[in-house]
Symmetry: C2
Subunit: 223 residues, 2 copies
Amino acid sequence: MAMIEAKPFPFHFDFDHVALVCIDMQKDFILPGGFAESLGNHIENVAPCIPVIQKLQEGFRKCGLPVIHTKECHKPDLSDLPVAKRNRGNPKIKIGDHGPMGRILIDGEDGSDFIHELAPEDGELVISKPGKDTFYRTVFHEYLNTRKITNLIITGVTTEVCVQTTMRCANDRGFDCILVEDGTDSYFPEFKKAALKMLTSQGGIVGWTCKSEPILEVLAAGV
Amino acid sequence: MAMIEAKPFPFHFDFDHVALVCIDMQKDFILPGGFAESLGNHIENVAPCIPVIQKLQEGFRKCGLPVIHTKECHKPDLSDLPVAKRNRGNPKIKIGDHGPMGRILIDGEDGSDFIHELAPEDGELVISKPGKDTFYRTVFHEYLNTRKITNLIITGVTTEVCVQTTMRCANDRGFDCILVEDGTDSYFPEFKKAALKMLTSQGGIVGWTCKSEPILEVLAAGV
């Protein structure tokens, strides 16, 4: 059993029951010229987590542990896109429209794909999800249950949207989750800070947070 | 079609497709001597929303519109209580133990029941939910779909836990949700403030917020 120094208290996990979850590290959310930047988001604020997630992915792979990748996107026929999501605020560019990197947030298009530094390797689970919650209309829960995964190490963007929503829904389902503080970012640094505090308040009501370093040390030691 | 001044822009809804959702206004979370207070939470911070929700419930009832009540609680045999939830932080008093108002967070016990000001009326949907997300292991989604409810007016406690989790999961499912700013509270005022900002950022990425007043005016006018 590995032990990590964390907030609000140490986090324990077993190598047989843990997975790394990398949320929405997609070109359209992160790269210059992508959809997020075109909406006026400060993409420079989501860059710091990239090398951290890269190191965590390497560490998990060296130990033969599962790495799970999610991407928020929709089917080309838009059949899984709620009307409310497409029309909210009557934006100039809507999901499904042609954008700078192909059709916006459509599965299979270049912009919805992962940044090259964090590309999935063969055999790793890739979840295309229509919502912010990774459990909604995906195989995530079934995958975790059939592999007896009970502990999730969570990374990705953005902290207060897809990351915290997924962590909250995982917590409802009985998973012990730890969010990697330097492995997650938001376009809004104050939202990242507030989300980290909310998740660990009231005795870890949603779960834990920690730095990547103690996790990398445990992986390197191969406990 | 009714229109409400809201953040980040006006919210429209139709009387035929709207419901009021009142989240977790339970004795154990709100009253002196309850479970929440015994954990050191400042229950005085969740009192202000009570009379506001009361007025909204009255307004909805006068118009013959649905009022939905949720309570976070578990079955007496604890079969729907994740081990991770019960043991998190190894607390002195665990869910299911005997507390000041009966067994803690067990359905049917006094403490898990609603405060008397906000008691459900006959015929109103009461959802006992094991998680923070009202959709998880409940009839909520089916109820809303079969009644063609598309717009949710959300109230309750606490803003950053069950309220925002439910709103995020409703948004994933295509519901247009507005959170009533003075109809929700948290033990931590800074978390309430941050949650309200997060939900409406990026063009209402999760939904809208507004004061109760414009909603009450629309209900009084009976549009």
